[in-house]
């Protein structure tokens, strides 16, 4: 199936809701769970999930429920997860990826990492400043105003599902500090709007998706270094002084993690 057809499979609102739910989970999702999340019948969910699989947007795996093995454990359940395949449609045709690869190669060859990081930091800073409340950050009113996707940089992850469930007005770790709560929510919303798919872990935020994945796989130190600088700048621009960005790569995730300074040793 080509990219246009794959993306067209998301036109159906129910199917889209199912896709967004599965994509946002940190585990493989069964039919019953997906049906409940989308508020539809299990058989209907199964139909749409399989359509999404046919379109190449979801992958399926068969697995027995946790803790049940051996004979008599029952049939393995069909589980769904987001496909790693990227789908892009551009009309008229554009090829920014080829350009990005070439430019990355140039930066690596001339040793321009420092310049790249400086520019990325500046870019992150202005994006953060633009996404911020643009007024006294102490007001804490941005929980209603600047939701996910409200920033000018609303990226591919700015769908209604991402970040919305998490509630942008809560800080990671949910500390008692009212200021920290507002800032943490703003950071989470800004990250969600840029497609990072943030989720809480401990007192910090981890990022499930790398918006620069293909380039990051080809030029890891270069692109991950740029990404770190970009996020440092973003925190700066958002005036999130209580948070720091650092590298902590894990297989299958973004290379950067954001810590709350107050709670982190």
């Amino acid at each position: 199936m080509d990219d246009v057809e794959a993306i067209a499979a998301l036109q159906d609102p129910v199917r889209r809701r199912l896709y967004e739910y599965v994509a946002a989970q940190d585990h493989e999702v069964g039919r019953a769970e997906a049906a409940e999340a989308a508020g539809i019948q299990r058989t209907l969910a199964a139909f749409h999930l399989d359509r999404l699989t046919d379109a190449g947007l979801l992958d399926t795996v068969f697995r027995r429920p946790a803790g049940r093995t051996g004979p008599g454990a029952g049939r393995p359940a069909k589980l769904y997860r987001r496909s790693a395949a990227e789908r892009v449609v551009s009309v008229p045709p554009r090829d920014y990826r080829a350009l990005a690869e070439l430019l990355a190669e140039v930066v690596a060859e001339v040793g321009g990492e420092e310049i790249l990081e400086r520019l990325a930091r500046a870019r992150g800073r202005s994006a953060g400043a633009a996404a911020g409340p643009g007024e006294d950050p102490r007001r804490g009113a941005e929980g209603t105003g600047a939701g996910p996707g409200a920033g000018p940089g609303a990226g591919p992850g700015a769908g209604p599902g991402e970040g919305g469930d998490a509630g942008p007005a809560e800080a990671p770790g949910g500390g008692p500090n009212v200021d920290g709560v507002a800032v943490g929510g703003r950071v989470e919303a800004a990250l969600a709007a840029r497609g990072y798919e943030p989720y809480r872990e401990g007192t910090g935020l981890r990022l499930r998706n790398c918006p620069f994945h293909a380039l990051a796989v080809e030029f890891p130190p270069l692109v991950c270094g740029m990404n770190l600088a970009l996020l440092e700048g973003l925190l700066d621009g958002l005036e999130a002084t209580g948070m720091t960005a650092r590298m902590d790569p894990r297989p299958g995730e973004c290379c950067v993690v954001l810590d709350s300074k107050n709670n982190h040793s």
């Binding site: 990492e113 420092e114 890891p220 790569p249 290379c255």
Partner: protein, 154 residues
């Protein structure tokens, strides 16, 4: 594939001698990063000379060039250690301590499982990738070959 392991060899030109104050932070990273490698999934072996438990004492390219060599069960195992662990941050910061080299600094090749490659062999492979570019006998992460000699399409 499982009857072959992936050997990796790389060289690095030091900005200053390892005992210089400016290199202290770099030097301090050796132990934790080596320990990380040793416990990484798919790790098989790494070059070390006795007392220091690292390869910094082996300098076949001259006093200012240190070398590194290791063997892994698969390309994915090596990739996850190099780019998806704390090792990535060291790579990101490498220019603080290491000079750029005009020629390729890294080479990989397949060895029969159980055989440990020699430094001599590693130098020959690096020489090959520098001279002829990547091929089935000596390649890089940008252009990987499988143990059967086929180019891996990512």
């Amino acid at each position: 594939m499982t009857d072959h392991h992936l050997a990796e060899f790389n060289v690095a030109r030091l900005r200053e001698p390892l005992d210089a104050p400016s290199m202290a932070e770099f030097l301090a990273l050796f132990e934790p990063i080596n320990a990380l490698a040793d416990s990484a999934p798919g790790f098989v072996w790494r070059l070390a000379d006795g007392a220091a438990d690292d390869a910094t004492g082996i300098r076949p390219y001259g006093d200012d060039v240190i070398i590194n060599m290791s063997v892994w069960e698969s390309r994915e195992a090596l990739w996850d250690f190099v780019y998806r662990s704390a090792h990535l941050d060291l790579l990101r910061r490498r220019r603080e301590w290491l000079l750029r080299m005009a020629e390729p600094e890294t080479v990989m090749w397949w060895v029969p499982a159980g055989r440990i490659p020699s430094v001599e062999e590693a130098r020959e492979r690096l020489g090959r990738v520098r001279r002829d570019g990547p091929g089935p006998e000596a390649f890089t992460f940008r252009e990987v070959y499988d143990a059967g000699g086929e180019l891996v399409r990512s």
